[in-house]
């Protein structure tokens, strides 16, 4: 593994994220933090979308539930950050396993619709679930930042934890792709029936991938909502974010390891530019839409797919 160039490319990416705002550049930190969240969401989505070929439109439910668990554990049960994050991750993975056992019997479009249904059902439920504050959500006291050395320091700690989660996501993508498990997923993505006939335990693999793709986003959600010290259903289960994750994955190249990261970086740059541009401030969705339409119509394997076709040798380096 250590001999693979890509192993080091990931390491360098993480190092850049870690070092860039070191001079105390809070603005850059905030921008990179968002990029790290996007990369985490997109590369975990890629496990299902790119590898196994299952479109999870509602992947945001993992992020949101992770946020809810974490904020609830900390705010209402008085847990520390570390146990709250760990338990949130595990709890959401288990929840994903349960959802997965049901909806993974569906394929293609039916599966995609079901993931939207799961997200909406969870959102509607949480909106009515009083222990989690119903539609108001849960607010954390600013005092919860004290154990981390006050709010200013807490923000740095949260940032580095998120970068670590991002790194873990990239390495997860990498190791899965290079493993037997990943080979099984890829074969499911190509032709599920043929994969089953060749002995790939498809139900187990899909459920595992679905559950695994929930773990890191859940922790990222926990950190993200802890940072904001509040969580409410409309933000936690906002389908826009999971669709952005799809756009990002498709833009970078589904099924590749770098694709989601590249897509996330480009998308966040573009978004930042659109957000501040006078003329285009309101056209963020339009641009995302046109971009996706072009990709789907003309370059369904995204940027990395395009590069790999153009320069096949790149595939050796990056995959």
């Amino acid at each position: 593994m250590l001999g693979r160039p890509f192993f080091w490319i990931i390491a360098v990416t993480i190092a850049v994220f870690a070092a860039a705002p070191l001079g105390g550049n809070v603005e850059l930190r905030e921008s990179l933090l968002l990029a790290a969240v996007y990369i985490t969401l997109a590369s975990n989505l890629n496990l299902m979308l790119g590898y196994a070929g299952y479109v999870n439109f509602g992947s945001i439910v993992f992020f949101g539930l992770g946020g809810y668990f974490c904020v609830y554990f900390m705010g209402s049960l008085g847990w520390g950050l570390a146990p709250a994050l760990a338990v949130s991750g595990v709890a959401v993975s288990l929840a994903a396993l349960v959802f997965g056992l049901g909806i993974l019997r569906l394929r293609g479009v039916h599966f995609a619709l079901a993931t939207i249904g799961v997200n909406e059902a969870v959102q509607a439920f949480v909106t009515n679930f009083e222990p989690w504050g119903g539609s108001t959500g849960i607010y954390l006291s600013p005092e919860l930042f004290q154990p981390l050395g006050g709010p200013a320091q807490a923000l740095w700690i949260i940032y580095y934890l998120l970068v670590a989660i991002m790194g873990a996501s990239l390495y997860l993508s990498y190791f899965v792709k290079r493993s037997k498990f990943g080979l099984g997923l890829l074969s499911i993505g190509q032709n599920e029936d043929a994969a089953a006939v060749l002995g790939v335990p498809t139900p187990r693999y899909k459920a595992l991938a679905y559950s695994a793709s929930a773990f890191l986003p859940a922790i990222a959600g926990g950190l993200y909502f802890f940072k904001g010290a509040f969580v409410q259903p409309a933000d936690a289960f906002d389908l826009t974010l999971s669709t952005e994750a799809i756009v990002i994955t498709m833009l970078g190249g589904q099924g590749t390891i770098v694709g989601p990261a590249l897509g996330a970086y480009l998308y966040e740059e573009l978004r930042g530019w659109l957000l501040t541009s006078e003329t285009f401030a309101n056209f963020q969705l339009v641009v995302a839409g046109v971009l996706l339409l072009l990709i789907v119509q003309f370059a369904p394997d995204g940027l990395m797919g395009f590069f790999y076709r153009r320069w096949p040798r790149l595939r050796r380096i990056f995959e």
Partner: protein, 248 residues
């Protein structure tokens, strides 16, 4: 000769149409058994019932003594039963080597990735694809895809190989090559259950032949015996398509 695969009273209907009924036969250890019959006789359905693509309505399937009736395809594959498809089903976007590696990884020996690659290379070499290991499967010709289909099944190192018309659509040279390959495989002690329309080929390869018609067993025996069975002749004469299916 002990039975490797035993099929008893197998039955399946789709929307009221009886595709297979009361079918009983067995494949012995080291045997090549040909499964023939006119179009729509239910041959591919038998394959699908045996390897778990469909669950049978009635009957029992046992493989090496284990009851595998209605077991999921991946369980059946793990026990050492590999098959090919009549219409090739390659993993189009993956390389030839990766295609074969899937077979090796998840087949009978459940090999770890590195050793599976070796098995995959061997299987690819056996069918003559060793030069195209890195090519995406979709770039292969039809004959190439058929060979890939076979290599993928072989890489699993199965005890029983079920071949669904591996010779169809190949030209005479390719057919001859494929028959060569099948003999080699058999030489390695792998049993084969094959569906084939090429009479010459199947009659020369098979130890025994089972003839299906309308989902029922019409005849069974060594090739010469079956070829002279009046019931078989009648069934085939009722099938004018036979003429076109002779090798060109």
């Amino acid at each position: 000769m002990s039975a490797l695969l035993e099929i008893e009273c197998l039955g399946k209907s789709f929307d009221g149409l009886q595709a297979v009924s009361g079918l009983t036969f067995a494949v012995g250890e080291g045997e090549i058994l040909g499964l023939i019959g006119p179009n729509g006789a239910g041959k591919s359905t038998v394959f699908n019932l045996v390897n778990g693509v469909f669950a049978p309505d009635a009957g029992r399937v046992a493989f090496r003594g284990d009851n595998i009736t209605g077991a999921a395809p991946y369980r059946v594959a793990r026990l050492g039963l590999a098959r090919t498809h009549q219409i090739v089903q390659p993993f189009a976007g993956m390389s030839v080597l990766d295609n074969c590696t899937v077979g090796a990884c998840f087949g009978r020996e459940n090999l770890p990735l590195a050793r599976a690659r070796e098995a995959a290379r061997e299987a690819a070499a056996l069918v003559g694809l060793e030069k195209r290991l890195d090519a995406p499967a979709l770039e292969l010709t039809i004959a190439g895809k058929k060979r890939l289909e076979l290599a993928r099944a072989l890489a699993a190192r199965p005890a029983l190989l079920m071949l669904d018309e591996v010779l169809a659509g190949l030209n005479p040279t390719e057919v001859a090559h494929m028959i060569e390959i099948l003999r080699t495989i058999r030489g390695r002690g792998v049993s084969i259950l094959m569906i084939e329309h090429l009479m010459q080929a199947i009659m020369s390869l098979s130890d025994r032949v089972v003839v299906l018609n309308s989902g029922k067993k019409l005849s069974e025996g060594v090739p010469a015996q079956v070829a002279n069975d009046p019931a078989v002749i009648e069934a085939y004469l009722g099938d004018p398509g036979m003429v076109q299916r002779r090798p060109q």
